[in-house]
């Protein structure tokens, strides 16, 4: 592995922290956050000076479903309460084309959303063309992120980022949705992407292999200027990059985030107290998910289905990895479990 000698390259460079605690965290609690929970955390994050607070169902606008989980609150309710709680922080939302539509974007715009992120699987950037074009016409700041990015080469990611900029994205980046990366993987990808675009580059980490903070620092050192992180790492499986760890580490190696340390630690305490039964941990199943390169959000449904069908959830994860399941393909879990159990429920067994 190449040395990630951050101290040599980092100067007084600003990093924008993007906080999807109230969106990605939903994956950890079956999309069940209520209005008071959203309000409490949004107020605390706003007070700490977190620049962007993203809210929504775990898969974004319009994604409440049996496939991924039905949200307790509607998009309207989530947007209303979070908008109301934010004074300085920008309100962000996330949408996957195919899950949400332009109607959902219009609704978010009616709620005065400041920043919209459009996500696609890492090789499918063209799915975002129409929605990014719509946001550009509406004059809404629009970023684009490539999910499950470990499934594409650095060169491919760079190409897709360049296309997303052509479609109208004013920030582009990658999600390590399976928590599969090691720092050198991130360095290589972010470097390629920064060479291909002249807009801010985003990195969104997951902690399945305990690498989320190190990967985020590697991303910053390679030129990323927007980093995603969640309070207490609140997120699917092993969780996301832990916000209140990342920020002081960034400051220590010479980046500026503009976030107040005590305010941040207070917000993280609020998150632990109000949002989650327990902070995410790198448990056995999350390690397997990271190794297999399968979306961390599959953890809950994999455990549910495996228990029901009497199969080893680790086998399910490795088989999903072999089938190259992308985020959103939760319906494959049942088939994989049935196949592992050796059951023929179909009509051509």
């Amino acid at each position: 592995m190449t040395e990630v000698t951050s101290r040599n390259v980092a100067g007084d460079k600003p990093i924008q922290i993007h906080d999807p605690t109230l969106r990605d965290g939903h994956h950890a609690v079956r999309h069940s956050l209520g209005a008071e929970q959203l309000r409490a955390y949004a107020l605390a994050a706003d007070a700490a000076g977190v620049p962007v607070v993203e809210v929504g169902h775990g898969n974004g606008l319009g994604a409440s479903s049996l496939q991924v989980g039905r949200a307790r609150l509607s998009d309207d309710e989530m947007l209303t309460v979070t908008r109301d709680a934010l004074t300085n922080s920008k309100l962000g939302v996330f949408m996957l084309p195919g899950w949400g539509t332009i109607e959902d974007l219009k609704n978010a715009i009616a709620h005065d959303v400041d920043l919209v992120r459009i996500g696609t699987h890492c090789t499918e950037s063209s799915l975002a063309e129409r929605h990014l074009g719509f946001l550009r016409e509406q004059g809404v700041e629009a970023h684009a992120v490539l999910l499950m990015s470990h499934m594409a080469t650095p060169g491919k990611l760079a190409e897709h980022c360049a296309r997303l900029v052509e479609f109208g994205a004013t920030g582009v980046g990658i999600m390590d949705s399976a928590g599969h990366y090691l720092p050198a993987d991130v360095t290589e990808r972010i470097t390629a992407m920064c060479g291909a675009v002249d807009v801010p580059v985003i990195f969104h980490g997951h902690n399945n292999l305990g690498m989320a903070v190190a990967n985020s620092i590697a991303a910053a050192d390679a030129g990323a200027s927007i980093l995603d992180a969640c309070a207490r790492g609140f997120g699917a499986g092993a969780g996301n990059t832990q916000l209140e760890v990342l920020v002081p580490v960034l400051e220590r190696v010479g980046y500026r985030t503009g976030i107040d340390l005590y305010g941040l630690l207070d917000a993280a305490d609020v998150a632990e107290r109000d949002l989650m039964p327990a902070p995410p941990t790198v448990d056995s199943i999350s390690i397997v998910s990271g190794l297999a390169g399968v979306f961390s959000g599959f953890k809950t449904p994999v455990l549910d289905v495996s228990a029901r069908e009497g199969v080893d959830p680790r086998d399910v994860f490795f088989e999903l990895g072999r089938r190259q399941a992308v985020a959103g393909q939760e319906d494959l879990i049942v088939d994989v479990a049935l196949a592992l159990r050796g059951a023929g429920t179909g009509d051509r067994s």
Binding site: P97, I102, V326, T345
Partner: protein, 302 residues
């Protein structure tokens, strides 16, 4: 004798395909096999597209210039619209005056929705038929059958298609795909709370076209669901041979049915059952119309 009658004299209806993308070119191959349809023109965007090249190699006359090139020529009995949802209404407006039957493969939600195993009888009463969407063609026959026998509160349809089987038209029409598929499920199941989702998979080898349906209904039982689904699937196989049930479960009032569709060949690879099922349904609609127009004794398919 009207114009329409004179066109049908040869014993075959004159047909054009508007749009030379993945759908249009596979349709061309399927139409060419029909005894009752005479493919006279394929219209593409410009000469250089691979679709028009394939059509020319196939020996079919080609044209560019969109719907106008159809208006400028003889009236066609049947035009398959394989362009984009936003263009379909204009195509109807331009072609309807000459009595043309339009069969719409875009998710425009314009015409009468047709699912051959569900409402084939509606075909001849309309001149603008909507084939809805590939996911709709795979899901509605199953969901219609289930909702006849059970009290269903909520339906969700999750489609997965291989990236190579999704052309630019569909990529730009994702919202229409979602809306139109939802509308069709509502219409043919009588259930109002419906959600459609589309995933695109880049896996290698490519993922077979797949539609997973989840249903909430307190009276669902596995025995009942299983027999209804297998019977409906057998009917769909009468025109889409590669239609298979991959999973069928019931847990705590939640039914789950997954089907996969492989293509029977023609211009599309095996995994691209999405193109095959909607095109096969469209062809069946055209042949039903031809059977009616040409007064062929008996049905084209039985």
């Amino acid at each position: 004798m009207t114009d329409n009658d004179s066109r049908a004299v040869a014993g075959r209806l004159s047909v054009a395909v508007l749009g030379a993308g993945l759908i249009g070119i596979d349709l061309m191959t399927k139409i060419a096999r029909s005894d009752h349809l005479d493919l006279r023109l394929v219209v593409g965007r410009d000469e250089a597209t691979s679709g028009l090249r394939q059509a020319r190699q196939f020996g079919v006359p080609v044209a560019t210039g969109g719907v106008q090139s159809l208006v400028d020529r003889e009236p066609f009995d049947v035009v398959f619209d394989a362009t984009s949802a936003s263009s379909h209404a204009e195509h109807v407006e331009k072609l309807a005056p000459s009595g043309t039957m339009l069969i719409d493969l875009t998710p425009s939600r314009n015409g009468q929705m047709i699912f051959p195993t569900v409402n084939r009888a509606d075909i001849c009463a309309h001149r603008d038929l909507s084939m809805v969407s590939c996911g709709g063609q795979a899901a509605v026959p199953i969901l219609h059958a289930i909702s006849q026998a059970h009290e269903i509160d909520y339906i969700e349809v999750v489609t997965t298609a291989a990236t190579l089987s999704i052309g630019r038209g569909t990529r730009m029409n994702l919202d229409e795909y979602v809306d139109t598929t939802q509308e069709a499920v509502r219409c043919f199941s009588g259930v109002t709370d419906v959600k459609a989702i589309l995933n695109i998979s880049p896996s290698r080898p490519p993922a077979t076209f797949r539609v997973a349906m989840s249903l909430l209904g307190r009276d669902l039982t596995i025995d009942s669901l299983h027999s209804i689904v297998l019977a409906a699937a057998a009917e769909v196989r009468s025109f889409a041979r590669g239609f298979e049930v991959k999973a069928c479960t019931v847990n705590d009032g939640e039914g789950f049915v997954a089907v996969e569709v492989t293509s029977s060949g023609d211009r599309v690879p095996r995994y691209a059952g999405n193109l095959d099922i909607i095109n096969s349904a469209a062809l069946l609609a055209a042949e039903s119309y031809a059977a009616d127009r040409l007064s062929i004794a008996g049905e084209v398919y039985s």
